[in-house]
Assembly symmetry: C2
Homo-oligomer: 148 residues x 2
């Protein structure tokens, strides 16, 4: 049965993704960063695009809205971001980095970049290009709703 191999590839991909996250989270914990890997990705997104609405933030980070709501809850609890009224739409908030959030980013950026780098040892530019193309191909193959 030849199609069995696709199961194997899927497995390999999921396993590797889990390991990347697990490794990063492990290092986060060792360094007492006081934050999870996913929370960090929200902060980083806000640094690059200030004051996004939760919906925009969800899309940008590739998370769904309920998940994003909860992550924002946790970040609010840590005083790293705050919800501000959206002047043009009272249904939505904009998520704003607090000064403490800004400081957190400045403090951790170098450490975290170094942690992230570990995954990619022994690989070269050509590998990255391959990987990027392959992953994007897969991603496009699986567009369920066609909402993009």
């Amino acid at each position: 049965m030849l199609t069995e191999q696709y199961n194997a590839y899927s497995f390999l991909l999921e396993r590797t993704a889990r390991r990347i996250k697990q490794y990063a989270q492990y290092q986060f914990n060792c360094g007492d960063f006081g934050i999870t890997v996913d929370q960090w990705s929200i902060l980083k997104s806000l640094r690059q695009h200030a004051d996004l609405s939760q919906k925009e933030l969800a899309e940008y980070c590739g998370k769904d809205q309920p998940t994003l709501t909860r992550i924002v809850d946790l970040l609010v609890g840590k005083n790293l971001v705050e919800r501000r009224a959206n002047p043009t739409d009272r249904r939505s908030f904009v998520v704003h980095l607090t000064p403490e959030g800004e400081r957190k980013i400045d403090t951790l950026t170098v450490n975290i970049n170094e942690i992230r780098m570990h995954a990619w040892q022994n690989l070269d530019e050509a590998d990255f290009e391959h990987l990027k193309r392959i992953l994007n191909t897969i991603y496009d193959n699986l567009d369920i709703g066609g909402k993009s």
Copy 2:
């Protein structure tokens, strides 16, 4: 900042893995398979290696033991597997496919292989080889405990 790109690669990999699982689960739900993607991977493992202990099963599936315990609980609840006493070690069980579990596998295998295949359209053998090598390299780069 050059190291930022590694964040992007990590993001891409996690996003693609999520999408693969999400797509498969979506199709599982559409087909009323009555089972999750992870539960399916347990059943498949048992088909290939009958009557593994939970620890062996966890290792083989790449899940940790508490997670596996809970998935087995769910499968037991659906009468697809059963826990049997391990004759050589009273601490452990062996997980055994019930006739209903066997039937479930036979019924779904063809459908699921087809679902899995969708992810890999527009890719060729060389791509698979690249991907496999790159993912395994990353996996090996991130061995935390060195327990393998």
